[in-house]
Symmetry: C2
Subunit: 228 residues, 2 copies
């Protein structure tokens, strides 16, 4: 049976790389899509390219959209510092939130899914993200799926679209274990919001702290972090 095509959003971080491995394990022909949206670092883009090849994606495309035009996020606006401490107020939306980011990522994935004839779009959103980011909540993905079915030729013609966020309910520790089970080369994933030019993680931003907590709770060491 031929494998069904799926678009997989791939940033080169722990979550999206694990999602790509899962999609391939589930029998999909994976078309990896990396969106360079004006984030400060290009290092994760090259990790994405590496992982797409290593995991056996059918193809990998990189598309540019400069979300910096809209401003408002520490990830795209160099005048807003990336927070280094854990003092964000509970329930507050982090300054690293990029306005409408997942809507833009999924919209681009939807465009490609339509021309590929793919009925599935994978995104590596997870439970820890959605504690602060409105566009990581399950109801957001359900609403996007509904939108996608109205927006496209495929939807109109009765081939439904599925938005798959297989990590949504996992903790970071569960994701680390899943990545290890799937043989993901974790040393070549990059989660940091603010790495140095060589691609080394800062170790202090929220993404680094969440990742470190995940590895700690999973009881394994993170091969992407140099020994002290």
């Amino acid at each position: 049976m031929p494998r069904r095509p799926a678009v997989v959003l791939l940033s080169g971080g722990l979550d999206s790389t694990t999602t790509l491995a899962l999609a391939i394990e589930q029998g999909f022909e994976a078309h990896a899509l990396t969106v360079r949206y004006g984030q400060r670092h290009g290092a994760e883009i090259s990790r994405a390219a590496e992982q797409a090849v290593r995991l056996g994606a059918r193809q990998h495309r990189i598309v540019d959209v400069d979300l910096a035009f809209a401003g408002g996020s520490a990830l795209t606006d160099r005048t807003i510092p990336v927070p280094r401490s854990g003092d964000q107020a509970a329930g507050e939306i982090p300054v690293t939130y990029v306005p409408a980011r997942n809507t833009v990522l999924l919209a681009l994935a939807l465009a490609w899914a339509e021309t590929l004839g793919a009925g599935d779009v994978f995104i590596g959103a997870n439970v820890l993200d959605y504690s602060g980011y409105p566009d990581c909540r399950p109801e957001f993905f359900e609403a996007f799926e509904r939108l996608g079915n109205l927006a496209t030729r495929s939807g109109v013609e009765g081939r439904p679209l599925r938005i798959r966020a297989p990590l949504l309910d996992m903790t970071k520790a569960e994701i680390v274990r899943e990545a290890l089970r799937l043989g993901v080369d974790l040393g070549r994933t990059l989660s940091c919001y603010d790495p140095d030019p060589s691609g080394a993680p800062c170790g202090a931003c929220e993404a680094c702290r969440l990742r470190a907590k995940g590895f700690r709770e999973a009881g394994v060491s993170d091969p992407s972090v140099g020994a002290p």
Copy 2:
């Protein structure tokens, strides 16, 4: 009373320019957004810039996203010819349909609306477009509005988003009359899918034919079309 900010998607064509004029008439402070999405012609971009200034937009931004990466449309793929005749089958989605185009445009507008604190996004979709394009139907815009309210900080904090498509139920003739009432400089709008390098409309594509029919039915001549 200060005017409320709104994002207005502006391509420089008849519909979006009229929409911008309407938004300003309705008392909004208009932030015009032009998305250069890999369409073949740049001429409409310069018309958009001209119209934004002329109509009194508060600001105008141009953002690039290369939808050609996804292929599948005569408007972004140079290997697919733009149809010149009217022989498209009834009910068929035209080859000029750009996959997920309005989803991408609205996602980018949503990002900017969020950082501007704007609760309204205007788009110049209309009834004639949605005869063939799935993402010009009223239920698509309703679904996007619902999505936008789940996707954003504003939505979470109880400031609802409105997607406004004021031309949705108008015929092209009604839009022409509305544009004239609003004082839009129609000679400097460009609707053609395939203009020559100077920005002159081809006169034969579906957009040109719809526009010509609109002017004919409105009983006025189109100042953008040179006398024979």
